[in-house]
Symmetry: D2
Subunit: 136 residues, 4 copies
């Protein structure tokens, strides 16, 4: 089917807007950071998400999960390490690790399908996407 | 030109997600609450924003301002009181008061123009919008 | 250990701020809506989250998961149906269903532990919490 | 009183989470980007906001304003250029320009006061802050 696309890393700094009254990063923001990681993985692999929409597709999230191991604080510098793999004829899976000073503080994943931009119709993974990653 | 559309009120409860590490509501969220107030004012006046988009227009924000008088806390029940007026041939202005237990804790405004949905082209206030408010 | 606390429902309307360029609600917002559901379940059961912090505890999220079945659109009226159960000596689990016009469009869960507010020290579920739900 | 602290620039990329159904960046996010600019200005000047809280103060927003000149799109690379000045005995003002490819697409400001972290009591600009900027 197709192998794992090697990890790509981004770094980010926790915004004040992302903290909550517990003085830690609000848990929903990790999903946003995953999006940043996913975005960069796709860019590095020659297929920025913007291009996918230009080609007439969107990739909505089918499923997401997250495990919170340690809290992140305002102004912390975090690294998001992202990998990609094919999961079925029609879906891909991304896995994420969020690290602070080399320690994994959060782990998660998202699964995505492909819909046509115009009609939101479910389609198999497009050929140009398969080719980009040498998936068969 | 056209009078002020009378105030419409909504109430909301501050979400944990909307607080920050100061343990108060993060200031950018007031703009989101203004959107909720604006939304309800339009709905009450027979022209929900959804309908405006269905008719082929969007109403982006040209300018926004906000004065923070007292902080809002998690779980506070707030009221947003919204009024609308025409400001020029091509723009409208909304004013907002945010109240807690009858006391104004924030005041703000937004100004909006009309663009065509398809091409993002600036247009005057559409006739159906003027008519809805008996503006001339 | 302790039974399931019966479902509590809230309704909400999708904010424009919560949509994204796919013209659907951004997936991370469901976690925020779960928070609203959780909040109301606790309030209805006599133990609003605010009170839990007043008693010296916070309840951070250990794990979260979400399955996206259908997209939500701007201005959709959604219902969040929340249940609570004890999961271990030290953690609780909440399950959520998001419905639109009676149809489940999303399902998810969160797991929470208890930390002391002052020192962020892990503790078992506090006695007042167990008693509130007749858990043993 | 005290001069203008020279401009500091940061760059950022518009997140998908920051777009809305108009397919542009939601207007409230500019206030979040201002926070990032403000944060970096303070860091560069030897007084990261984290340190201000460690010294026992918070700097809530008293007032904010924003003018939206052109829309920002998903994945756009933006620059935020921030300056700081003293505004009174007890408040500072920051001005922001958001640029895309050298063109200003948004302008805004925020005003802040100083409160004690413990009691949220209003105080004049602390001496260590004045000294850092050679204000008198």
């Amino acid at each position: 089917m197709g192998g794992i696309v090697p990890a790509v890393e981004i770094s980010l700094r926790v915004r004040y807007a992302e903290t909550d009254a517990m003085r830690i990063a609000y848990h929903a923001n990790y999903l946003v950071w995953y999006e940043m990681g996913r975005n960069e993985l796709m860019r590095v692999n020659g297929l920025p998400y913007r291009v996918i929409e230009e080609r007439g597709y969107i990739m909505p999230v089918l499923e997401a999960g997250s495990q919170y191991i340690q809290s992140a604080l305002y102004d912390d510098e975090l690294v998001v390490r992202t990998t990609l793999q094919r999961q079925s004829r029609a879906s891909v899976r991304l896995d994420y690790e969020v690290l602070r000073e080399g320690v994994v503080i959060n782990r998660g994943f998202t699964r995505h399908c492909f819909l046509t931009l115009a009609e939101h119709k479910l389609v198999p993974i497009p050929a140009f996407y398969l080719e980009q990653f040498n998936w068969e």
